[in-house]
């Protein structure tokens, strides 16, 4: 007798299901990466001797064998990307950039340092300099003075260009220390802006034509709406340029032009721009009582706090992980304790905790207590969160730091655009 039940009819639907079968769709197969790989992917782990997993895994298919997609496309990037402004003043800015890959964050930093334009003194015409600062040294010092003028309003001065009101800012410096006076300082506040261009006459080649100056301004920079009622000055008024003794004098004209930091650091619009990854400090076990107090004491950045649990019981908490400088003191095995000598001199114990070398000469032997190995060294985990950057920008004052960052992003955009247009 033929059993009907035993014959299995395979429908199209079932076939399709079999084809699309994916083991990761089964309910009891764990989703995502196992914890140790997820840790490697998202954190830099700082061990006592060196950090591990420092490079990002950028290949999109790196975890494909586990059914995890490692790719970043615009969609999931937009979803995860976040900016938090921590502080912002006229010259300094700190912000958190979350969800950005290292390569792109670094591109912003590099552009801020080397590829954003600013104005800086490039040519100095020295009429008279009897000070002890040599002409070339003075010129160099002048070049490094940051100038508070928006470079976006100016053009680059190329080799064959005439210096004009669109590409040159002229400053005059004429200071004198009269005989009989005491020595005086020359500060940047004495640099006078000449909105009409150079006042120095070019030596004409004997012709009777109108005398020319070193610039050819067709109109005064005063007439620019941006400079009408805030004259161009150096960003800071109190930078020392030179010192003059009695009877000494400096007379010169300085011409500032637009440039980028790649050419010379004086054109870099930032004093510095850097980022660090967000520190993460984890206590792998509960720190109680004596251990908690030890832990709090050992951290120079005061990352840990003690929490009172009532009935005199105390527990350590990670209160300020952001302040962690990664000095790794909390991972050190410990050992010696420096006990000041009776004379108040500091004593540096050698490793091993026995021998003692006094810093300054002294006869008395200092006391060194050997504390032995700390019991909790491997109970603290120091990590850095990848893709979470704490970005700091220090502007020299020509533009506010938020404008600088926006400009830096634009520069990277322009670079992409150039490549695209060259490829098509």
């Amino acid at each position: 007798m033929e059993s009907v039940e035993s014959r299995r009819i395979v429908t199209d639907e079932e076939k399709l299901e079999a084809k699309n079968f994916n083991i990761f769709d089964l309910p009891d197969v764990p989703k995502g990466l196992p914890p140790h790989l997820e840790l490697e992917r998202t954190r830099v782990v700082c061990k006592v001797d060196a950090p591990t997993h420092t490079t990002e895994t950028i290949y999109s298919g790196a975890y494909a064998f586990m059914g995890v997609d490692n790719s970043v496309n615009l969609e999931n990037f937009s979803e995860n990307f976040k900016v938090d402004v921590i502080s912002l003043t006229e010259t300094d800015m700190v912000f958190d950039m979350i969800g950005i890959p290292a390569g792109i964050a670094n591109a912003f930093r590099r552009i801020l340092l080397a590829e954003l334009p600013s104005m800086a003194i490039e040519k100095v015409f020295v009429v008279n300099n009897t000070s002890i600062v040599q002409d070339e040294v003075l010129a160099h010092r002048l070049g490094l003075v940051p100038i508070a003028a928006d470079p976006r309003l100016f053009e680059y001065l190329s080799e064959n260009d005439q210096p004009n009101e669109m590409n040159t800012i002229v400053f005059k410096l004429h200071v004198k220390c009269p005989k009989g006076d005491s020595r005086r300082k020359v500060l940047t506040s004495e640099l006078k802006w000449l909105p009409n261009g150079s006042e120095l006459l070019k030596e004409s080649a004997g012709g009777s034509t109108k005398q020319k100056t070193y610039t050819s301004f067709s109109r005064s920079q005063d007439s620019f709406p941006e400079f009408a009622d805030n004259p161009i000055t150096p960003s800071f008024q109190d930078i020392l340029l030179a010192k003059l003794g009695p009877g000494q004098e400096i007379e010169l004209e300085a011409h500032a032009v637009k440039g980028i930091g790649k050419t010379h650091a004086k054109w870099s619009p930032v004093a510095t721009a850097w980022y660090r990854m967000l520190p993460e400090v984890i206590l792998l076990k509960e720190f109680k009582g004596k251990h908690a107090e030890e832990l709090v004491k050992v951290c120079p950045k005061k990352v840990f706090d003690i929490e009172d649990m009532g009935q005199g019981r105390k527990r350590a908490t990670v209160a300020r992980p952001r302040d962690c400088s990664l000095c790794r003191e909390c991972l050190r095995e410990g050992g010696e304790e420096v006990v000041p000598k009776k004379g108040g001199e500091e004593v540096v114990p050698k490793k091993g905790g026995e021998e003692v070398v006094p810093k300054k000469g002294g006869e008395e032997k200092a006391e060194v207590k050997s504390k032995g190995k700390r019991e909790w060294v491997d109970q603290v985990a120091l990590r850095r969160v990848r893709n979470h950057y704490i970005f700091t920008i220090e502007s020299t004052g020509s533009q506010p730091p938020d404008v600088l960052f926006t400009e830096a992003v634009k520069v990277l955009e322009d670079k992409c655009e150039r490549v695209i247009s060259e490829l098509s």
Binding site: I58, S60, V85, L88, P101, R110, I420, L423
Partner: protein, 122 residues
């Protein structure tokens, strides 16, 4: 400039002049995020030449297309970064302004409160 073979357009090296790690490393990242890419890497042949070579090998698509897409993607990422950043800065500035105003009002309130008492002279 593109160096590739005539028969196989899925492998190519692109030479960009006047560029350095700034662009190359960012593009390398975006390239590697594209599932069509098998190899995406760059090198600077000599530090005193302003030149960078970007190598792209794909699973079959034309390398130049994939490279162009990567640049396009990077550009869009930048646009997004810029808009998010601008929003965050505007929000921060507004918040600061609000706080400053609040503090001012608080000061005013206290002045009014203690106005009758001559606190200045103390």
């Amino acid at each position: 400039m593109e160096h590739g073979s005539i028969t196989n357009n899925s492998h190519a090296t692109f030479t960009l002049t006047e560029e350095d790690h700034t662009l190359a490393n960012a593009v390398r990242f975006v390239l590697n995020q594209d599932p069509r890419v098998t190899v995406g890497a760059y090198t600077i042949p000599h530090p005193s030449h302003e030149k960078v070579n970007i190598r792209v090998q794909t699973t079959g698509d034309p390398a130049s297309e994939v490279f162009k897409d990567a640049c396009q993607e990077l550009m869009q990422i930048n646009r997004h970064v810029r808009s998010v950043f601008d929003k965050a800065v505007t929000a921060y500035k507004a918040e600061e302004e609000r706080k400053a105003k609040e503090a001012e009002e608080e000061l005013k309130r206290q002045r009014e409160l203690f106005g009758s008492m001559d606190i200045e002279s103390n």
